[in-house]
Subunit: 434 residues, 2 copies
């Protein structure tokens, strides 16, 4: 599909956000903190109208026959809204990610280099349903000094409009301009956003793998997102089997739709019979369909796994099971089929654990614990911008750090490069305290 150029109206509105964001970038930590608190207060005040707007969206969804999963994501009841507002207040309380000096070097006498964290500028966020995510990401953007263009799913349009109205009202009651947040409503605007290079610095898609892939293929703007979460758990011959079973169950069933849930269980042949004797009934009781290779089927797994199963993110109560000859077999399978999201091993053997943790090239490599810990809150970041499966930083669960970049500041007193090229002066490159 060809992506149309952004309309001049969209370009103009994005330029307004950019200007507002540049002013926001000059604000103090306290001003940004107060602005986010004002956003939370305004959401609180608009509680009834937001809930009402959400009911309107839900009514429309019922008429259109949306899937139960989508309706569940769309639904914003009082409890969910209160939790989201509490989340906004938590974002206000996060430590300031801006103005941190990451590097401080004297290049020569009187010529001093600093590297300082600064906001990205403007982020573009495209949501599918999930009106609660709008509050989260908008508050993260403001806390870190960024403007945001927000495009909610069509099915959440009334909810998003009510939320944005409240958020902008909150900003208007602070020193931060309401112009820092702008809601995009049409599909054309959402496509146009992809071509706003120079006005938008990062695109964050929050939705299906298909959405993320479409966006990655159709923009030059960097994208923070993960296209696939094909996570593995390898049960080694030296695993504590009951512990491995608990980890496997949690990794699959604690929230099967999550990207950090496992899709494939790899079991060392030496313990496959014993482990599957425990695991088959346990997964069966949990309602999980197991699909095994020939060896796993021979040990009691009922359904066969085809080649396609090793590369499928089920996001459901289905788990592929493969018996491997040894650790290298597990590593080879993960290398061929993994999505470099999060992969775990259960073993009590130190050398095996070390080899797995060093050799698996994923954003998260875990020992004797559930893959479900791959999450910004659980990592202690206080908030999560998203999870990234790209190789380059930011990788894995990304907190406020993902909305921040840096700038080099160099202060001199008439220093010119020619003096160093000619040898008249020499660099000292002396590290200074941060």
């Amino acid at each position: 599909m060809a992506v149309p150029d952004p309309s001049s109206d969209l370009i103009q509105r994005a330029a307004v956000v950019r200007r507002a964001a540049m002013a926001l970038g000059q604000s103090t930590d306290a001003q940004r903190q107060l602005a986010v608190v004002a956003m939370a207060d305004a959401l609180e005040a608009a509680r009834e109208s937001i809930l009402e707007a959400n009911r309107a969206d839900l009514d429309a969804a019922a008429l259109e026959g949306l899937t139960p999963a989508l309706v569940a994501r769309l639904k914003l009841d009082a409890a969910k809204l209160d939790a989201a507002i509490a989340g906004v207040r938590q974002v206000a309380a996060l430590a300031d990610p801006l103005g941190r000096r990451q590097l401080h070097t004297e290049l020569d006498q009187g010529l001093t280099l600093e590297r300082i964290t600064v906001p990205l500028g403007v982020v573009g966020v495209i949501f599918e349903a999930r009106p609660d995510a709008v509050m989260q990401i908008a508050s993260l953007a403001i806390r870190s000094g960024n403007g945001a263009l927000l495009k909610g799913g069509r099915e959440a349009s009334a909810s998003c409009a009510a939320i944005l109205e409240a958020l902008r009202g909150g900003l208007a009651a602070s020193v931060v301009s309401a112009g820092c947040l702008e809601l995009l409503t049409s599909r054309e605007e959402s496509l146009g956003l992809l071509k706003l290079d120079g006005l938008v610095d990062l695109i964050i898609p929050r939705g299906s793998n298909e959405l993320v892939r479409f966006i990655q293929d159709n923009t030059r703007i960097p994208v923070l997102g993960h296209a696939d979460g094909i996570c593995h758990l390898y049960v080694d011959q030296a695993a504590d089997l009951p512990q491995a079973l608990a980890v496997a169950l949690d990794s699959k069933i604690q929230y099967p739709a999550a990207c950090n849930a496992i899709e494939t269980l790899l079991v060392h042949q030496a313990v496959a019979a014993d482990f599957l004797a425990l695991a088959i009934p346990a997964f069966g009781q949990a309602g999980v369909e197991l699909r095994g290779d020939a060896a796993a089927q021979a040990l009691g797994v009922e359904n066969p796994a085809t080649e396609a199963d090793w590369g499928t993110e089920y996001s459901d109560l289905i788990l592929a099971v493969k018996v491997v000859a040894d650790l290298e077999g597990a590593l080879g399978h993960i290398r061929s089929h993994g999505s470099r999201h999060t992969d775990a091993i259960c073993t009590t053997d130190q050398a095996t654990a070390d080899r797995f943790l060093a050799a698996v090239d994923s954003a998260g490599v875990y020992l004797n614990c559930s893959t479900r810990f791959a999450d910004g809150f659980r990592y202690g970041f206080g908030a999560e911008v998203g999870i990234s499966t790209q190789t380059l930083p930011p990788r894995g669960p990304v907190g406020l750090e993902g909305l921040v970049t840096y700038r080099y500041r160099l202060r001199g007193d008439g220093h010119v490069a020619g003096d160093y090229a000619s040898g008249a002066r020499c660099f000292s490159h002396r590290s200074l305290p941060l």
Copy 2:
């Protein structure tokens, strides 16, 4: 232009590099250091055949009538080769960028999170001419544990083949596999490289803006490069004028083809007459053509600047000159026309300096010094992978850090997420020493 899919031969060769790179990623600091020294030794031993191959490339270039600038970049004489080999030895001596612990947190008793630097995997590098750059980037890749697919310019094909043969020979004499470096030779391979997602983690184009833009538009793989270097120097009303002139001259003429040379000089109206009275003859003597707006022309700048001049990277001895009303006028011009590379101010007024350094949203913002300092060596990084004008990190001059990412390692003892969701256990999120 449609980018063809990579041939199965190319995919196979890239997979070999990837496997070799994964083994390299497990090597020790000392092993990688020795490998890079072996590369330098092998270049030394192959000195004559490399110089001969370069002479063959130069002969072919003469026949084809290449531009003098391109011939200058292509030429590898004994001095340039020796300097490049010395550069490889310097890369060997750089501090190990791998295995650094960036984060260390106890999530709960017995559940410990670390963030550790690791290699990217495989980098794809596309050069125009510049055979010396091949040695630099290949040694940086090996030092940081990465494999590399290297595509030299067609005009440098004999030089690149001789260099790669030496580099691979050097690796073969070390514990690192020669398979970590692979030379691509045809245009088809260079296009195919752009579609090797999953096998290549980063593409580094070293060439013209057009090359960089073409690559950015035709790959989903992240690209480290800068598309434009439109740098500004603003001479404030409180500038030390003779110092500002020295900075302006160095910023323009020290190496006009560099991306960090200035293209536009902005002068405060209050000092425009005095400054231009000094600057016009000085730039004239240096052979620089000045192109001014109406106000600058009224003060003696001979040629007119058109709107297009403010957005042109001359890469030549041409400088656009604009008289601005005040600091805000300068900031507005830079915001509209800059490429967020490097911009400088000359002023002795602290408040003005602070405002400029805070408000200009470029990778480098400088006070009273030449924009030509925007360079990895000058910043003290010891080597430069490239300069990036993207907003996200890595930004500006990028050293070895740009070839490194990180991985989260989580070690537990049967910890499952369900216990935290149910409240049975609580996160401690206690920072541990790095």
